[in-house]
């Protein structure tokens, strides 16, 4: 009887989770939706605490308190620019929990589980362990603890695929000989190792895809844990999370015109030597001063800001909004054009601009803004590079060829705010900088925006 009641609690939680995710279809309904999901979580936890097998609350209470003490600061104090690495860390925590519970299950029952159940545990522990170390690696790269560019070596793909095959062989072996602890713990070790190896060759620019993919793995891990414990709420939640991460990775890949295999095995972001060599060493560029830029912006009718990762690095989002405010006071129509892979995770730029009090109805995605560029007087590119590189449309040999871009060139004037002429994360030169409509405004994004605001006010 009590068991059935618990299952009903879980069913209600599952419904509330789905309603919560549905709320995210619009910013207006999003918060209300999340309150429902929170209530669902509370129901599931309280219901579980009444579980008949629980005999002591000592360790449970300790874990809940410690987790809250770590979780709250991670949510409240971190800057919005650090949300990508927080997300990656969160994937690793979830995966760690799943992996440890899998180990506990095997330790407790061992061969008594039978081949099918051991197989399930094997898959669960493999997914959990590789997602754990993989997500830690991703978080390290995003935080800058590990260098962001791809680390590649000869035979890398063959090596990684062999580890994957090795893990699958070990799972099969476990199913034949469920009592083999050696096979089980080798599987755990190999999976930890595989997670590291999988993220090693991935460059910073590919992080939006990889984070989404790890999100999907974390979901699948949760679902696998549900299979292992025969717990439907975990299967449902894991499946929802898995499909969410999967959809996001597909969207990100589409925004870069690449396939998931290419992201995982292609080592994007590696400097393409032949591409760099084929470019003329020095071509003329046109620079402009702050005053000139202010003059152009102040007399425009419409202006579009195109933010990129550079804006996040220099924390310039508030200063960009201040420029926009002055322009709006002068009667200029201001919009923001946002590329899906600008930044380090899906939706990164939207969050930063929202943090700077930019109303979300001024944020336009690529399809919406591209049709408006021909009627735009000025585009200001702030810290974006590859997502506005016309080589994606014109240069067949380019690593980003075919990637849909923000067609800023179609506007009357393009002002590019940039630290120097260095190449973007794809390691390729940007033709936009040499275009006849382009004016380069060199300097740190934040400082430039501050100067621009005061120049506009004069």
């Amino acid at each position: 009887m009590q068991r059935n009641l618990l299952q009903l609690f879980y069913l209600l939680s599952a419904i509330l989770f789905v309603m919560g995710l549905r709320g995210l279809s619009h910013p207006k309904t999003a918060r209300r939706g999340m309150f429902r999901a929170e209530f669902g979580m509370l129901l599931a936890i309280v219901g579980t605490l009444l579980h008949h097998e629980i005999i002591s609350y000592k360790w449970i209470a300790a874990g809940l308190v410690l987790g809250t003490l770590i979780g709250v600061p991670m949510a409240i104090w971190i800057p919005m620019t650090a949300v990508p690495q927080r997300t990656a860390l969160s994937h690793s925590f979830g995966a760690l929990a799943a992996s440890l519970i899998g180990i506990s299950e095997y330790y407790r029952h061992g061969a008594a589980l039978g081949s099918l159940r051991v197989g399930v545990i094997g898959v669960e522990v493999m997914l959990g362990s590789l997602t754990f170390t993989g997500s830690l690696m991703a978080a390290g790269k995003l935080q800058g603890l590990i260098r962001g560019y791809p680390i590649t070596y000869k035979g890398q793909n063959v090596f990684n695929l062999s580890i994957l095959a090795g893990m699958l062989v070990l799972i099969a072996a476990l199913m034949f000989i469920p009592a083999s602890t050696a096979a089980f713990y080798s599987l755990v070790g190999l999976a930890f190792f595989f997670g590291v190896m999988l993220i090693l060759p991935i460059g910073a620019a590919d992080m939006p895809v990889v984070i989404a993919l790890l999100n999907s793995y974390a979901g699948l891990t949760d679902a696998a844990m549900g299979f292992m414990l025969d717990n439907k709420i975990q299967i449902i939640t894991g499946s929802l999370d898995g499909s969410s991460g999967f959809i996001l990775s597909i969207l990100m890949c589409r925004a870069m015109n690449r396939s998931i295999t290419n992201v995982l095995f292609g080592a994007f972001g590696k400097v393409e030597e032949q591409a760099a060599g084929s470019l003329e060493a020095k071509r003329p560029i046109r620079q402009c001063s702050i005053e000139e830029a202010a003059e152009i912006l102040g007399t425009a009718r419409t202006a579009v800001f195109v933010p990129g990762y550079g804006m996040a690095v220099s924390q310039a989002q508030h200063r960009v909004r201040e420029v926009a405010d002055v322009l709006k006071n002068k009667g200029v129509t201001v919009r923001y054009g946002i590329h899906a892979v600008a930044g380090r995770m899906p939706g990164h730029m939207n969050v930063l601009l929202a943090e700077a009090n930019v109303p979300y109805d001024e944020l336009y995605d690529m399809d919406q803004i591209n049709s408006q560029f021909p009627e735009t007087d000025v585009v200001v590119v702030v810290g974006a590079n590859d997502v506005v590189n016309p080589a994606a449309k014109r240069v067949r040999g380019s690593p980003i060829y075919g990637m849909p871009i923000l067609e800023v060139e179609r506007a009357r004037v393009v002002i590019v705010c940039k630290r120097s002429l260095a190449a973007g994360f794809a390691g390729i030169d940007n033709e936009l900088y040499y275009g006849e409509k382009t004016l380069m405004l060199f300097g740190d994004a934040k400082e430039t925006m501050v100067k621009l605001t005061s120049a506009l006010k004069e």
């Binding site: 879980y10 789905v18 919560g20 995710l21 549905r22 279809s25 619009h26 910013p27 999003a30 918060r31 999340m34 669902g40 979580m41 599931a44 936890i45 579980t48 629980i54 609350y57 360790w59 449970i60 874990g63 410690l66 987790g67 809250t68 979780g71 409240i76 919005m80 997300t87 969160s90 925590f93 979830g94 929990a97 519970i101 099918l116 999100n215 949760d222 844990m225 549900g226 025969d230 717990n231 439907k232 709420i233 299967i235 449902i236 499946s239 929802l240 999370d241 898995g242 969410s244 959809i247 996001l248 899906p346 939706g347 939207n350 929202a354 943090e355 109303p359 979300y360 109805d361 995605d365």
Partner: protein, 95 residues
């Protein structure tokens, strides 16, 4: 022998996946970051499995592993929901 429990679980998994696909496809691209932190938060449901392992007193190893798992899952639940709300609060219209 076919394990009927697992087959039932498979039904749930596949259908929830379809449901997820339908629901997530309609999420506004504006909110992709809070979507990720929200899925982080609900993935903390691994807490329910961890709670039992930490509290059932199966053996010392399981209890310790369960304790770590409870801690890790709680970080996701608490931190995930808090940051999702923090992000969502920032999205405003101009009018």
């Amino acid at each position: 022998m076919i394990d009927l429990g697992l087959i039932g679980d498979l039904y749930v998994f596949v259908l929830a996946g379809f449901l997820g696909y339908q629901v997530i496809s309609r999420v506004s691209p504006l909110l992709h970051t809070p979507l990720m932190s929200a899925t982080n938060a609900i993935s903390g449901i691994s807490l329910v499995g961890s709670l039992v392992v930490a509290g059932a007193g199966y053996n010392e190893v399981s209890t310790v592993l369960g304790f770590v798992a409870v801690t890790a899952s709680t970080i996701n639940v608490v931190g995930g929901f808090l940051i999702t709300d923090r992000i969502l609060k920032m999205f405003r219209t101009g009018k």
